[in-house]
């Protein structure tokens, strides 16, 4: 996907922390929901952000849009600093970005009709002259596949899929360059999920939208996204082009995630190497590489010290001590390859 060289939205060593109540006499503890993340989204690109519970992907999405307080690091929109930035720059971000959410009903004001919610955006941002607001609302509803009569419906009168479409219409009313979709299909039925994803694909083509697609369903991410970033306990452990990431994952966690996708093939049994354990709580992050307690390839150096540095192979980055350079190893690594990797 051709895009310009400058990122639309980028984060530089971004950290978001939340205080944790540790009792009266203990030192104030914080949990790093997002831990020193550097990431870029280019215009017109769809970036998938995946991870399990405690990964911090939703927090990252909100922090990128300045909806969460940032502890350290910087977020830049079109090169201009947003974190602790000028009000005018933040306003610019707001006018060019929008968010869609997981729970379609909760993301709309229950006391407003769908038409009113959309019209409010148009009025606040003065997108069209007053007289044309109703017409623009009708246009937007048609664009997302709703009937214009549904403008007078309240969220409780619509189905989940329809509410989600209304939420997308409201996001489009702003005429954004970037949409952050936070698990926007997770709460929908399977037969409806595809409708929403297809809608996003169509809109992306029509409007050249950049999309940050936060999800835990890897199969959908594979279809929709150009690039994917995998998060674990607040850090990005791997990032690269979609196909490369899925066919040749470079981080053991990504490999485990990919192999855990259930497939509709009755002859394929459950994968043999089921990853043990669970993502630990972000309050108690293991030292060294946070993944080491569950990693089948963990070595001595992984258990202590700093988390591993990010290595880069072409446009594919991963944070692991295993050295993949120059070989075609694919997970699960065989014994020989691990020894080789350790030797490097």
């Amino acid at each position: 996907m051709a895009h310009s060289n400058w990122p639309l939205l980028e984060a530089d060593n971004l950290s978001v922390t939340f205080p944790v109540s540790g009792g009266l006499w203990q030192a104030k503890k914080v949990v790093h929901a997002v831990n020193q993340v550097t990431i870029q989204i280019y215009p017109g690109e769809t970036l998938g952000l995946v991870g399990e519970s405690g990964s911090g992907k939703s927090t990252l999405g909100r922090a990128l849009l300045q909806l969460e307080r940032v502890a350290t690091g910087e977020v830049r929109f079109e090169g201009l600093r947003i974190t602790h930035g000028l009000t005018s720059d933040i306003a610019r971000l707001r006018q060019q970005s929008a968010m869609i959410f997981q729970d379609p009903f909760a993301s709309l004001n229950p006391r407003q009709t769908v038409g009113e919610s959309i019209a409010e955006v148009l009025r606040v941002h003065q997108k069209v002259p007053r007289a044309q607001v109703a017409q623009r609302v009708a246009e937007l509803l048609t664009l997302v596949g709703l009937r214009t009569q549904q403008a007078s419906a309240k969220p409780s009168q619509l189905s989940g899929g329809q509410c989600q479409r209304a939420g997308i219409a409201r996001a489009l009313a702003i005429e954004p360059r970037l949409i952050v979709a936070d698990e926007c299909v997770a709460a929908l039925d399977v037969s409806i999920q595809g409708q929403i994803v297809n809608l996003l694909m169509d809109l992306r083509e029509k409007m050249g939208l950049a999309i940050l697609f936060i999800a835990h369903d890897l199969a959908i991410v594979r279809r929709l996204c150009d690039r994917v970033a995998v998060m674990y306990l607040g850090r990005i452990v791997e990032e690269g082009p979609t196909e490369a990431l899925f066919t040749r994952p470079l981080h053991p966690y990504t490999a485990a995630l990919v192999s855990a996708i259930p497939e509709i093939d009755p002859d394929k049994p459950l994968p043999k190497n089921v990853l043990g354990g669970e993502p630990p709580s972000p309050i108690a992050v293991p030292p060294g590489c946070a993944f080491h307690p569950r990693c089948p390839y963990a070595q001595v150096q992984c258990r202590t010290g700093e988390p591993p540095l990010t290595r880069q192979i072409a446009n594919h980055a991963y944070a692991c001590v295993l050295n993949h350079e120059g070989d075609e190893t694919v997970f699960p690594l065989i014994r020989g390859s691990i020894d080789e990797a350790q030797a490097c």
């Binding site: 909806l67 968010m99 909760a106 004001n109 229950p110 409010e120 409201r170």
Partner: protein, 281 residues
């Protein structure tokens, strides 16, 4: 609150859910009608004294009898409806407006503002309600306007707490996050998005509060610090009729029944509204 709870339990045994709303509306509506039409329907002037006809028991000419000053009790009850309904409505409206605004601001701002408001609420709640009311009225001088000011200064706390709690919950909801992401200003979010959704509890509470205000107003007037004689007001009437309870029971009883009926009406409204608004949320 205890009285409302008793009404509620009684009601649930006699009248099923949906009917409560309509029954409540009917009763309160009837009293509103009475209050409006009193000047034309009341057979006698409520403050006109006629000592020759004093302490007459209920009859054709005086359906509720007359009191010790010869005033027609029936007319006084009808005219009293105007005063008592005014007490209910205004006595609830002012605390409602003050309390919901402060509660919403407090919940939305958080931090210092929130802490400050909560501490003020704690201080107000530390005093017994009636004691505080009476102290304020004593300073301002007796009369209905003092009563309203006192109600506003003391009664706002319940509304503030209710609305603050709702705002704290709603603040985290996705549609508020969406509003922020769309660049809406704080005032717009607070008044257009948060408040309309946070008022449900406060509205239902206000209906039960009407009952309490009515009883408060009656009590305060009974003590001579509210409505001043010779204005007809049910609480005052109950007080004045006290000494005649054995000889002329009608002077106290009929206004007493009126209080109970109006209170029941509001209570039914509260329950019915609670159910109705509850199902929508």
């Amino acid at each position: 609150m205890k009285m409302t709870a008793t009404f509620s339990r009684l009601r649930q045994r006699i009248i099923p859910r949906q009917q409560a709303l309509y029954a409540g509306l009917a009763i309160v509506g009837l009293w509103l009608l009475v209050a409006c039409l009193a000047p034309w329907v009341a057979p006698f002037d409520p403050i006109a004294q006629d000592v020759s006809s004093s302490l007459l028991s209920p009859s054709g000419a005086h359906p509720f009898g007359t009191d010790n000053f010869g005033r027609d009790v029936f007319s006084r009850v009808l005219w009293g409806a105007r005063v008592d309904l005014q007490i209910c409505i205004l006595g609830v409206l002012f605390p409602f407006m003050l309390g919901t605004t402060l509660g919403a601001l407090s919940g939305y701002s958080g931090g210092v503002v929130d802490t400050l408001v909560m501490r003020v609420i704690d201080i107000v709640l530390a005093f017994p309600f009636l004691v505080l009311m009476l102290a304020i009225i004593a300073i301002l001088g007796p009369g209905l306007s003092s009563f309203y000011i006192a109600m506003a200064m003391v009664g706002w706390v319940s509304y503030a707490r209710l609305v603050r709690a709702q705002v704290l919950i709603l603040k985290q909801r996705d549609f508020i996050l969406a509003a922020r992401s769309l660049g809406y200003g704080h005032l717009r979010i607070l008044f257009r998005h948060l408040l309309p959704n946070a008022l449900t509890g406060a509205i239902v509470f206000s209906m039960s509060d009407c009952v309490l205000v009515l009883l408060n107003g009656a009590s305060v007037s009974y003590l001579g610090l509210g409505v001043q004689p010779p204005t007809a007001e049910w609480g005052v009437m109950v007080a004045e009729g006290q000494s005649f309870i054995t000889t002329a029971w009608w002077i106290t009883t009929f206004p007493g029944i009126a209080i109970v009926l109006l209170a029941m009406g509001f209570s039914l409204l509260a329950d019915g509204l609670g159910d109705k608004l509850g199902e929508r949320v």
